[in-house]
Amino acid sequence: MDQTITVTVNGREYECSVEPRLLLSDFLRHEIGLTGTHVGCEHGVCGACTVLVDNEAVRSCLLFAVQTNGREVATVEGLDGGAQALHPIQHGFWERHGLQCGFCTPGILMSLVPFLQENPNPTEEEIRDLLSGNICRCTGYQKIVEAVQLGARLIQEKSS
């Protein structure tokens, strides 16, 4: 039986009627048309579908949309660059060639948002530990690590 949920996605409120079995990833992509959240494996392993729920990075393929009733969800579409077109972390990826096909990128960016809020100056080891939750088939990760380092610096410059 369908259930009605009210969920805020990137600051905008949606009221929808959904089947309980609808995954949050499918809700985002197919119900409200936000296809920036990618789906790679649907069992929590690849990290491509990572979004923020109440500012915590979680797998949207392992949550049912009904579970986000009354919560705030943030996806890659909501990354705010302020006056710039890109968020500083995205700028880091652009500048340092942190993506090739880009399939893994949204999940990595969303994992990085709370990570860099909490830890603005991460060591390389901490960055690699965080990235262990996201699979990238293209880059070999080295460029992603450099992109995160630059992104972290850009955030600090922006706020100082």
Binding site: R21, E56, V58, R59, L63, F64, Q67, S111, G133
Partner: protein
């Protein structure tokens, strides 16, 4: 793939949740962090007719000190356990092992109770529960009981809980004074399920002789595997490198009988059992020796 259809309930209290489990019996499953249940539903390996979502039950989220030990509500997120100063102080072994569980994005949702109840032979928490003599508080509408971690695990993905029962709380007693402890594992990639891992707890007497020893493995059997022969070999010994090597050898050849999978064959797992036993016993004994000096 997508999960099969189910009815969804999100009770606000434990009593309501237990009532739902009593009403629906084996057709219902509690939904904790969903980090093991939802993948199996997406694969349609599990097709529960009813999900009872525990995420809205505030009384199941807590970490507190009681009788010098640690008490955690079943729904306490793995991430909260990992970051708790109370856990660090009272149960340093648990604290040391938590970051080995999956990735931060998984631990943000995954719960201590969900992992303990899931009884995955490759999981860290069941092994820690056995090594630390934890006790599980299990409830149904009509019954409430404490089960020792050792008796809780009864086979592959199987626990002593009945379908209408729920794990409500877990108690980790404080380690006796003068104990040393260690955890280690080997995984293909940090955060993946380990190919082998072990927790050790060692206690020395006033003369530095081993008084108590615990060595419990993950990923080498159907559940947590206690290396009883290796433990017995260590007790009464001076804890030197030779005794540790002998215990590790016994553990790997007598106590465990690993099977292979796509990640590691039986011979490699046996090899890891020996190497990891040596590492964790050495570290635990170092810590016990240090604790005895103070």
């Amino acid at each position: 793939m997508k999960p099969a259809a189910f009815d969804y309930f999100a009770p606000g209290t434990l009593d309501e949740a237990l009532g739902l489990l009593a009403d629906y019996g084996g057709d219902a499953k509690p939904l904790a962090g969903g980090q093991s249940l939802v993948p199996t539903m997406n694969f349609r390996l599990a097709q529960p007719a009813v999900l009872v979502d525990l995420n809205g039950i505030d009384e199941l989220f807590f970490i507190r000190e009681e009788d010098g030990g640690l008490r955690c509500g079943a729904m306490t997120r793995q991430r909260s356990v990992e970051r708790s100063p109370l856990v660090q102080r009272i149960s340093p072994l648990l604290y040391e092992a938590m970051p080995h569980i999956a990735h931060s994005q998984i631990r943000n949702r995954g719960t201590i109770g969900g992992s303990l109840a899931h009884a995955d032979p490759a999981a860290e928490l069941p092994v820690l529960a056995v090594a630390l003599d934890a006790r599980m508080y299990v409830r149904s509408v009509t019954d409430a009981r404490w089960v020792a971690a050792r008796d809780f695990y009864v086979g592959l993905f199987a626990t002593a809980m009945l379908p209408d029962e729920m794990l409500v709380e877990v108690a980790f007693p404080a380690l006796p004074p003068g104990s040393g402890w260690a955890f280690d594992e080997v995984a293909r990639q940090h955060g993946n399920y380990a190919m082998c891992g072990a927790a050790a707890v060692v206690g020395l007497d006033g003369r530095g002789v081993v008084e108590r020893a615990r060595l419990v493995y993950l990923s080498v059997g159907e559940g947590p595997v206690e290396a009883e022969q290796a433990e017995a070999l260590l007790v009464g010994e001076q804890p030197n490198a030779e005794a540790i090597r002998a215990a590790a050898e016994t553990a790997a050849t007598q106590d465990v009988d690993p099977v292979g999978d796509i990640h590691a064959g039986p011979a490699f797992r046996r090899h890891l059992s020996r190497v990891i036993a040596e590492r964790v016993l050495t570290r635990a004994i170092e810590r016990a020796t240090e604790a005895n000096r103070q």
